[in-house]
Symmetry: C2
Subunit: 90 residues, 2 copies
């Protein structure tokens, strides 16, 4: 079956978007030293889900799913850490 964009390439582009999307939030939180409006519950559930997506990626042998979720896990964990740190230091 022919695809307009090969699945692996599409997965890599999709993963790049959802992964780098957390960078503006990371920078914003770092610059403003505030993440009051960012939901704690969101980041806890999201990080749990991203860990499960990594496991799913290993099971279906999808490199884009594994790599994108591993990088997202690192960035989302940094945002969560900053949110907790800034809230406790204010």
């Amino acid at each position: 079956m022919d695809y307009l964009i090969p699945p692996d390439l599409l997965g890599i582009v999709a993963g790049t978007f959802t992964t780098i999307s957390f960078l503006p939030q990371l920078l914003k939180t770092w610059n403003t030293k505030s993440a009051k409006d960012v939901s704690l519950g969101m980041f806890i559930l999201f990080i749990g889900g991203v860990i499960l997506w990594c496991a799913y990626g290993f099971e279906i042998h999808s490199s884009p799913v594994i790599i994108a979720n591993m990088v997202t896990l690192i960035i989302a964990s940094m945002i969560l850490t900053m949110k907790l740190y800034f809230e406790n230091s204010n």
Copy 2:
């Protein structure tokens, strides 16, 4: 190959986590009528990425990837709309 958890079930659980993770943010933004600390760039890039993940899900025939990303797309779009609305009405 045997898995501890079948891939489709794992994908559904992972998708449920990352999808429902946006609900606390949706409720928080609705209740506080503020999403000042939530990055606009994050939601724009994230929504773009989620649309691409849907396309990837169709190409690899992965129902969990398709369904999770479609629901996430709806919720993330609602958060983005609220953020823009509250910022322009304040």
